[in-house]
């Protein structure tokens, strides 16, 4: 899959499909490739942060900076794998795992109160004081049986979010 070619071969599509565990159909992968090429204006084979931020709908999202860290330097195959959690064919486990990865910015498999505070800060901005955020977080953690010093791992996330009706789906436009 060269950077300069804008045509995907059947091999390429199947390779990408393998990599994303078949969460996207071949048609969707072709559409995603068109989108990838459209966003990758410089043709470098990956979408830079600048190029992501030129999509206003993405730039106004409070979690854009966090996601940019995860999206940085991804080639097309990895880009599709990143989006696989949003496919209607993705399992609840895959979605929860994605959410865990958003929280676990250093990738050490543990989400501490600090990580949760950071995400909460992104989401609420200046509209809640830092103290209040800590207060609320401590309160709900304790109610759920954790302390403010506990680190959550993936299985904790599965337990907490497991029986909620998580709606995290995106439709890939297919011409």
């Amino acid at each position: 899959m060269g950077n300069t070619s804008s045509m995907l071969t059947q091999y390429d599509i199947e390779e990408v499909q393998e990599h994303c565990s078949h969460t996207f159909s071949q048609q969707e992968i072709v559409s995603l490739y068109q989108r990838f090429c459209q966003l990758d204006r410089s043709g470098g084979g990956f979408i830079s942060s600048e190029e992501f931020m030129s999509v206003p709908e993405f730039a106004v999202n409070p979690l854009s900076q966090r996601l940019l860290r995860m999206l940085d330097g991804l080639n097309f195959k990895e880009f599709v794998a990143f989006l696989s959690a949003f496919s209607p064919r993705a399992t609840l486990q895959q979605k929860i795992e994605f959410i865990f990865r958003v929280y676990d910015s250093d990738g050490n498999g543990r989400v501490a109160m600090n990580d949760m505070l950071e995400v909460l800060r992104d989401l609420t901005g200046q509209y809640i004081s830092e103290q209040q955020r800590e207060q609320v977080l401590t309160q709900v953690l304790e109610e759920a049986g954790y302390t403010k010093d506990s680190s959550l791992v993936l299985s904790d996330f599965m337990k907490i979010l497991g029986n909620s009706d998580l709606k995290m789906e995106v439709e890939v436009p297919v011409d």
Binding site: L32, R35, Q38, L39, F52, M53, V55, P56, E57, F58, A59, V60, N61, P62, L63, S64, L67, L71, L83, F86, K95, F98, I99, V102, Y103, M116, V119, L120, L123, T124, G125, Q126, Y127, I128, S129, Q132, V136, L137, V140, L141, E143, A144, Y146, F157, I160, L161, S164, L166, K167, M168, E169, V170, E171, V172, P173
Partner: protein, 375 residues
């Protein structure tokens, strides 16, 4: 509680200077308001924000406005391909030279009339203006002929009255030429480099043009002042403004800038729709220079479009200029069959204002605090 106090003082600062984005964005999550006591899983569940972000990555309404969709290739089989080749030959070797000749003749006639008129009639301003207007209309007709422009004008021709401005949707700089051949408008334009800039400085000055520079910060006030001065003058040509501020692909309209709508004048909307079967007239200034764009038009079969002069509108009592702008945008979009998107065209060149993100943060914070109170 300090938190809620902080909330009320900041919400008054968030001057909602634009229509509510949430009405346009496809975020289903904003419709379902979460209820019930706040639990850990509610705080950890960031799926709505993530879904919106992923939705924007996969497809967004802003990029769609500037996408030039290439037509389906129809020449891919044995008998259509030679037909297409004949077409190419006719277009490039017969039509194109013919058109170049037409344009050259037009320029010769124009320059040989314009230069004497401009310099010799310096004293007789009225006559000079009349002749210059006629000549500009003439050269624009030559331009339109050079692309075999087939323009159908609907509606009454614009009249020269004071205190009125004309607004139109913008697809390419040829919009201006197509409208100018009917009526010598004064226009407000971005200063361009190269030969276009030269034309702007010399010929367009005679019909009365206002220049702006997107890059300059203070520019907006200067331009607003110039606009006001122009519409007050009884002698000036009617002013044509493209409130989108940038070229859009003729399938969508982006938000109209309110500058044209707060001058206290009647606003006459003009809708322009190009027929894509003949050529895609969208000028993607990021992909092509204007010269290449013109050459592309001159080597196509024709430029076919409809121009509708719509009913003049006035600011309704109690309407803000922004609401007025949106109302006129609606009128134009409906007439030309364009879809509206809530984005400012200048987002092509800059990042969105932090106000939008703050709006989302505020609504999330409010919802969170509200649920804390619940038992």
């Amino acid at each position: 509680m300090s938190g809620s106090e902080k909330l009320t003082s900041l919400s008054s600062e968030l001057d909602l200077d634009r229509p509510n984005l949430e009405d346009y964005l496809p975020s289903g999550s904003s419709i379902q308001e979460p209820h019930g006591k706040l639990r850990l899983r509610d705080l950890l569940d960031i799926s709505p924000a993530l879904t919106e972000a992923a939705g924007a990555i996969v497809d967004d309404s802003f990029t769609r406005c500037f996408k030039s969709n290439p037509p389906e290739p129809w020449n891919w089989n044995v008998y259509l391909f030679p037909l297409w080749c004949c077409g190419v030959v006719v277009r490039y070797l017969i039509l194109f030279p013919g058109r170049v000749i037409v344009l050259t003749v037009g320029w010769i006639i124009f320059l040989s009339s314009f230069i004497p008129v401009h310099f010799l009639l310096k004293g007789h301003d009225n006559l000079r203006k009349k002749l210059e207007r006629f000549l500009v209309e003439l050269i624009c007709s030559f331009f339109v002929a050079s692309w075999t422009g087939v323009v159908k004008y609907h509606g009454p021709r614009p009249s020269m009255r004071p205190k009125q401005v004309f607004v139109a949707n913008h697809t390419s700089m040829i919009d201006f030429i197509i409208l100018e051949q009917m009526t010598a408008f004064a226009v407000i334009m971005q200063k361009h480099p190269g030969w276009v800039g030269l034309l702007q400085k010399t010929i367009l000055e005679s019909v009365g043009c206002i220049w702006f520079n997107r890059a300059e910060a203070k520019d907006r006030e200067i331009v607003a002042r110039k606009l006001r001065e122009h519409v007050q003058g009884t002698d000036n040509n009617p002013l044509l403004i493209f409130p989108e501020g940038t070229c859009v692909n003729n399938h969508y309209t982006v938000m109209f800038k309110k500058g044209a709508f707060e001058l206290g004048c009647t606003v006459c909307p003009i809708a322009i729709k190009y027929n894509k079967i003949f050529v895609d007239a969208f000028w993607n200034s990021r992909k092509q220079s204007f010269t290449m764009h013109l050459l592309q038009l001159m080597t196509s079969w024709a430029v076919v479009c409809d121009v509708w002069y719509l009913e003049p509108q006035n600011l309704k009592p109690g309407e803000t200029p922004i609401e007025f702008a949106e109302r006129v945008r609606d009128i134009i979009s409906v007439r030309a069959g364009l879809k509206k998107v809530p984005w400012d065209g200048y987002l092509k060149y800059s990042r969105p204002s932090p106000k939008h993100r703050e709006q989302k943060q505020q609504s999330f914070a409010e919802s969170m605090l509200r649920r804390l109170e619940e038992k």
